[in-house]
């Protein structure tokens, strides 16, 4: 199998604590992978390691057959990996339009940026993205004035503008209403037709809605892998994760 992204025996340490302890992961072209796991399982750390936000202590990350382990984050981004952070990581002081313009693919060099113009192509791309995230009306608004859910959409929009081959989404629906969550789920499914998508999600409703292949992380290791049904019927998973969630819900 030729995979787009291949993670082998990944280890990430924080002051001696092994946040990731030998994770393996393969993501094919245009594949949709959902990662779940209890808090502290290392889900975000896994994405951090892929985009080089956290240094990799051991193991290898290959993207399109080339090793990208610990490359500078901007180089990884240029190769076509886009990341959405857990808390909306957008620019409050910029308008929605500017946030998207900033994320737009291309013209990343200093001198290119001075002379770059808002071409018709760029304008159309931003218009399309604004429609996709339903914020056309708010294009000129500073992001600071938007709701939490809308900020999530702005960041998803930034990913769309960036147009990466591989999209990493860290809890994209946190803070959204059930309706918004459902709409996001549909958008994610749409995205996965053209991009490879990795989603970290807590919301089991959304997982059921979108998931094809689910990976369960626990204590820095892969605990289980399979379809939603496989996972739901997995004894170990129920014990460490789903079971507790259910108890939480009923409590």
């Amino acid at each position: 199998m030729t995979s787009l992204l291949s993670v082998q025996n990944l280890q990430v340490e924080f002051y001696g604590f092994k946040a990731l302890n030998g994770v393996n992961l393969d993501i094919g072209d245009r594949e949709l992978v959902t990662i779940i796991g209890p808090n502290g399982a290392g889900k975000s750390t896994l994405l951090d390691a892929i985009v080089s936000k956290s240094p990799v202590a051991n193991g290898q990350i290959n993207y399109q057959g080339k090793e990208i382990t610990n490359l500078p984050p901007y180089q990884i981004a240029r190769l076509g990996i886009g990341r959405k952070f857990q808390n909306p990581n957008v620019y409050d002081e910029l308008t929605v339009f500017e946030n998207l313009l900033l994320a737009l693919k291309g013209s990343n060099g200093v001198f290119a940026s001075i002379f770059s113009r808002l071409t018709k192509w760029k304008r159309q791309k931003i218009t399309t993205v604004l429609e996709q995230i339903g914020l056309t009306e708010s294009a000129g608004t500073k992001v600071a004035a938007l709701s939490h859910g809308q900020k999530q959409w702005v960041e998803i929009g930034m990913i769309l503008a960036q147009d990466p081959k591989l999209i990493l989404l860290d809890e994209p629906t946190a803070g959204m209403t059930p309706e918004e969550t459902h709409a996001t789920g549909e958008l994610i499914q749409l995205l996965s037709e053209v991009h490879a998508v990795v989603v970290i999600e807590h919301d089991m409703e959304l997982v059921k809605q979108i998931a094809k292949r689910v990976i369960v992380l626990h204590q820095g290791q892969t605990l289980a892998e399979g379809s939603v049904q496989d996972i739901q019927n997995n004894e170990q998973v129920l014990e460490v994760y789903l079971g507790r969630e259910q108890i939480d819900v009923t409590a």
């Binding site: 985009v51 936000k53 500078p72 984050p73 901007y74 981004a77 240029r78 886009g82 990341r83 952070f85 990581n89 957008v90 620019y91 409050d92 002081e93 910029l94 308008t95 929605v96 339009f97 500017e98 313009l101 900033l102 994320a103 693919k105 013209s107 990343n108 060099g109 200093v110 940026s113 001075i114 002379f115 770059s116 113009r117 808002l118 071409t119 018709k120 304008r123 931003i126 218009t127 604004l130 056309t136 009306e137 708010s138 294009a139 000129g140 930034m158 960036q162």
Partner: protein, 361 residues
């Protein structure tokens, strides 16, 4: 297809800005006709201080790098010009022979040091005026910005650089004439004719206008957008594929180059430069101009440098403790108008959007 998005600003602002600058330019161009030589000379000096403030605004106001080393780059450009003019004078005088300035002779130098000698040539001196400060800034910038030093540590490094260079220039008497600096220098000539004060004044005015317009144009481009993003959250920009270090190095070096030219013009005008302009207090003054004028507004820092300079001029005549007046003013601004005096002007005229300029294409 002229499809206008709500996010794009109307195009009235750019022309408005150009109009404002145009009117300002005309008013200041005829200013010397109504005021005496003293005011003309003072205003020209304040223009240069203003460009220094604009240059810092690019680095601090837009990119978020607070530096006290702006005076260092200003002085490096100034010294390049001062050496050139000094040699011009020394070459004419036969007393000391060999075109060696008197302070070098009295400090026991028999030959022009190799690193100062090229400044005898006008083109080399002019190039050095820009490239020495810009090159020095590039070098520092490369070390600071690629090593992930950030925030307050950069500011501390800038203080250290200013202090160290001040000490160096004071201690190397034979080469720099120490605390006395370079004075008693030839006036700047063009095609053999001495440039009169009004000529220098206009040169300073044109330079300042060019810097203001250039900086404005730059900050309206995508670069400006990226710089503001770096200021707000630099880690995030790198995940969008931008190499932050190269942007910081660029703006830092550009700022130093502008400061260098301002320093060179300052020496041509003032006929004097000393390590005072390298040291931290002068660098702090530049920071104060930007803080009082309004970070990220370009025109604010320029106006603040001019206004504060004039206040200082009159305050000096009234009391020796003029710094107290400036200090109180700074306190008021920092406490009550954190975004600077420019924020008192109704919003529309100082709004910063990058989309507006690009909308024209």
């Amino acid at each position: 297809m002229t499809q206008v998005l709500p996010g794009q600003q109307k195009r009235t602002f750019p022309s408005k800005f150009a109009l404002m600058v145009g009117i300002g330019f005309v008013i200041f161009a005829i200013f010397p006709l109504f005021f005496g030589e003293f005011q003309t000379s003072l205003m020209a000096k304040l223009f240069l201080f203003g460009t220094l403030a604009i240059a810092l605004d690019l680095v601090w106001g837009f990119t978020g790098i607070l530096s006290f080393a702006q005076g260092v780059f200003f002085s490096l450009g100034g010294y390049a010009m001062a050496y050139y003019l000094k040699f011009n004078l020394a070459a004419g005088a036969s007393d000391y022979g060999g075109g060696l300035p008197e302070f070098m002779v009295s400090n026991g130098l028999e030959q022009l040091p190799w690193f100062i000698a090229p400044l005898q040539s006008f083109p080399i001196a002019m190039v050095a005026m820009v490239l020495v400060p810009a090159g020095f800034a590039y070098l520092i910038g490369w070390f600071i910005f690629t090593s992930r030093v950030s925030g307050v540590y950069i500011t501390i490094i800038s203080l250290a650089i200013a202090s160290a260079l001040n000490t160096l220039f004071v201690s190397q008497q034979a080469y720099t004439n120490g605390t006395n600096g370079l004075s008693d220098i030839a006036p700047l000539t063009l095609f053999g004719a001495k440039i009169p004060l009004i000529g220098l004044y206009w040169m300073c005015l044109i330079f300042t206008t060019a810097v203001l317009m250039g900086a404005w144009w730059l900050t309206k481009s995508n670069l400006g957008l990226i710089l503001r993003s770096i200021k707000e959250n630099e880690a995030r920009v790198s995940f969008l594929g931008y190499n932050i270090a190269s942007y910081k190095i660029f703006i830092w070096t550009l700022s130093a180059g502008i400061a260098g030219i301002a320093g060179g013009l300052f020496v041509a005008l003032n006929q004097f430069i000393s390590p005072v302009y390298i040291a931290v207090p002068f660098g702090t003054q530049v920071v104060i101009w930007v803080a009082i004028g309004g970070r990220g507004s370009l025109i604010g820092p320029l106006a603040a440098a001019i206004i504060l300079g004039q206040i200082q001029n009159y305050a000096e005549q009234i009391t020796q403790d003029w710094q107290l007046i400036i200090g109180v003013l700074l306190l008021i601004v920092v406490l009550f108008i954190p975004n600077g005096l420019i924020s008192l002007i109704p919003k529309q005229s100082n709004q910063v959007t990058s989309a507006s300029k690009s909308a024209s294409s």
